[in-house]
Symmetry: C2
Subunit: 450 residues, 2 copies
């Protein structure tokens, strides 16, 4: 790419797309100084119904609605895909790679499902895929894992990967707002979609975790392999009991190497360890850096075997932060070094089997439990005994004073326990007449030392 | 570098050096998989008196004490410099660059003083300098600024850049320990040197800030241009009054683009703005991410014009974290992409003048003030009036109850004020007989929005 200018094509010009157009226009001089040549936005492809939506800064001769005209554009070696979704977009991306174009995308759903294929195609064609914007928005997380932490074997990572959920949980915590109220406010303030399912159900976090884990652990992870619990069934009572115990509730995407021997996270030294993956609401101690990340921010704690804990915090979504990541990828590609680095990137490696996923029942962790239990003599003892018989030891108990003879919340935290025996013990307990309904189980995440 | 193995030379084998040797040995297979070829430690140069110090893992035929023998080693395109200091080490680095070797260094003192010359020499010879380990240890900060945030005009950065100081301040805060006690504990626990001057006086932070600011703002900053106040004269009373007001005391390295018009940080849009640089103990609000970084951790908040605030946290020193950064640089050089990227890196650019430093007297900021004032009628009014006459408006006041007629601490916080008029007003106030000694002035840092 030694031309005097480098052509860029853009598919989709919504919120993030228009942010990309603005950055390329406003920072044109700065970028030219860094690169030694100009970036030129050659063509923007939008759907016919979107021609007038957020495209006021796109010159009319650059805007097209016909994919054939778009792909016929000469001298356009970099294609930015911000159309979102799969289907037609997947075909566009494959077509671009096939034509030998570099692709920059923020499309986490596409990469989580088809990343292995798309990366293989890119490697085969000698081009690169920039995907910094697909995970944690503006935080340069992919850059950090791939280059800055290259000397490390990554042991574990814990991420607040969805700003909508973090905003809702922050509102529940700081304002004692029930889930439905906090969601409604997030929707009013533009932090949540009208249909929030993909966010609050955890699916969006699972998409991102699949991409990050594939990169961090050098293996093929698909989002379908990730057990996923959202925040949409959370009860405010648990947020409050957790706060009483010194914990903050966060929706975490977690990926941990697990030691086969003791089921403990983060300590395995084997080359192909068991990998434990999940997205779930968790309690983390108030003093942990991640607990302090509020509102719509994202944050990821990464544990490298040499570096120990590093934490990255920033805006995970929004027009400018996401455009920052997209345009940084474009610049890194245009500068020539990223395509070279891409070939040696350890993500969705060819000819490698999917990771051996660790049996969730065998994972060792601490848990928060809440029973709706009858307040009568012997009940506390019966529950503690049943858990003790399953090898589960309690580390804390809360029972607020109440009138005897009623069902009251009984909160317990456990020492490290395996999930399987815990679930078995809970299944038995909930059959008993002094327990009402399903016990609540929330993982308490203790970060590895580092 | 297409050989089957790539030779690495190491100068200095102390704590970090021996960590580098261990990583290269233990992770040899992993690195070979990533690179497609092996890294080989060809020669380690140590001083004659250090032959047996931490070198037990270095094969005897690799260890040399004669610089001539070291530099005569064939096929050693990458040189890691961990000798520290300047003088002879500077000559070694220049010799290596002159010979067309890439250099990786953790030597912040060397780069802060001679970075512009060394980088120019490297560019001239077509080789690169890796310096991730020179700032903030294991945190991949250089990588983040240089590549991950490339689309951004950096507006401001605020860093906890010295783990020793942060450890001491954390002890003062959490244990109500006076400075001398906290320093002694840091020394006992190995977090502070026997002669702690470079750390506690702020000089080490200034070295790092010079490097980071040169990179972030694309200009020539030398550490000598940075006004520097350490933590060694701090009074525990101020840490405690600050806590009462909701603030944490941190030693911050700060670099801010300043708007000429109103002196406010972080908002300038001009290409060559006034730059305000300083290292000083500051108060930051307890809710800010940086306030939550305790103990020997480092952290940096970076404000990009598009991405907003991003924060990076991790170990700033120590054997493994620093070795992680050094070896990541080695790998990124050996992989071939870093040398290509280095040429386009915007640090100590050739043919560029030093930045226009903003007059510190004109910087707008909030301040914490503590007077030792006589508790008698009219004193509070006289101080508030003198400040008001200088255009300085108060945002808060603390005076604890005491016996009338004695000198008591009187704490005030100001709204935004220019440093010059504030200093002038304080100089006049301290002449008055109801004020005893020098008033304490500590900047209250309000992070830019984002």
């Amino acid at each position: 790419m030694s031309e005097q200018s480098i052509g860029v094509g853009l598919i989709g010009c919504g919120t993030v797309g228009s942010g990309v157009v603005e950055l390329l226009q406003e920072q044109s001089e700065r970028y030219a100084r860094r690169l030694g040549c100009r970036l030129e936005l050659r063509r923007v492809l939008v759907r016919p119904q979107d021609v007038d939506y957020k495209t006021e800064r796109v010159p009319r001769n650059v805007l097209v609605t016909d994919p054939e005209a778009f792909f016929a554009t000469e001298s356009m070696p970099i294609l930015v895909e911000l159309g979102g979704g799969r289907g037609a977009i997947s075909q566009f991306v494959r077509r671009a790679l096939d034509m030998g174009k570099h692709v920059v995308t923020a499309n986490k759903a596409l990469l989580a499902a088809e990343g292995a294929e798309l990366f293989a195609l890119a490697r085969q064609r000698g081009v690169s895929i920039g995907f910094e914007a697909s995970c944690a928005g503006g935080i340069p997380l992919i850059t950090a894992i791939n280059f800055g932490l290259m000397a490390n074997r990554i042991q574990a990572l814990y991420g607040i990967l969805n700003g909508t959920c973090n905003y809702i949980l922050s509102q529940m915590t700081s304002k004692n707002a029930p889930y439905a109220t906090a969601l409604a406010e997030a929707q009013t303030r533009g932090f949540a979609e009208a249909d929030p399912t993909l966010d609050v159900g955890g699916g969006d976090s699972a998409h991102k975790l699949a991409i990050i884990a594939s990169l961090a652990f050098g293996c093929q992870v698909s989002d379908e392999a990730i057990p996923c619990t959202g925040i949409d069934t959370l009860d405010l009572a648990d947020v409050r009991f957790g706060a009483e115990l010194g914990y903050e509730m966060k929706l975490l995407g977690m990926a941990e190497r697990i030691d086969e021997g003791n089921g403990a996270p983060g300590l395995s030294l084997s080359v192909q360890p068991g990998l434990s993956l999940s997205v779930q609401p968790c309690f983390i101690h108030r003093e942990e850096p991640l607990a302090q990340v509020h509102g719509s921010f994202n944050a990821i704690a990464i544990f490298g075997h040499a570096v120990g804990q590093t934490v990255y915090v920033g805006r995970g979504a929004g027009k400018e932060p996401t455009a920052s990541a997209v345009v940084s990828d474009v610049l890194n590609i245009a500068a020539g070094w990223y395509p070279q680095a891409f070939g040696k990137m350890h993500i969705w490696p060819d000819q490698q089997k999917p990771p051996r996923l660790f049996d969730p029942r065998q994972v060792q962790a601490r848990y928060y439990l809440r029973f709706n239990a009858l307040d009568r003599p012997g009940v506390m003892g019966a529950i503690a005994t049943a858990l003790g018989d399953a090898g589960i030891s309690l580390s804390g108990i809360i029972q607020h004073e109440s009138c005897a003879g009623e069902f009251v919340p009984l909160v317990m935290t456990t020492h490290e326990a395996r999930q399987g025996p815990l679930n078995d013990a809970l299944a038995k307990l909930k059959q008993l007449d002094f327990i009402d309904g399903e016990p609540v189980v929330i993982r308490v995440v203790e970060m590895p030392p580092g």
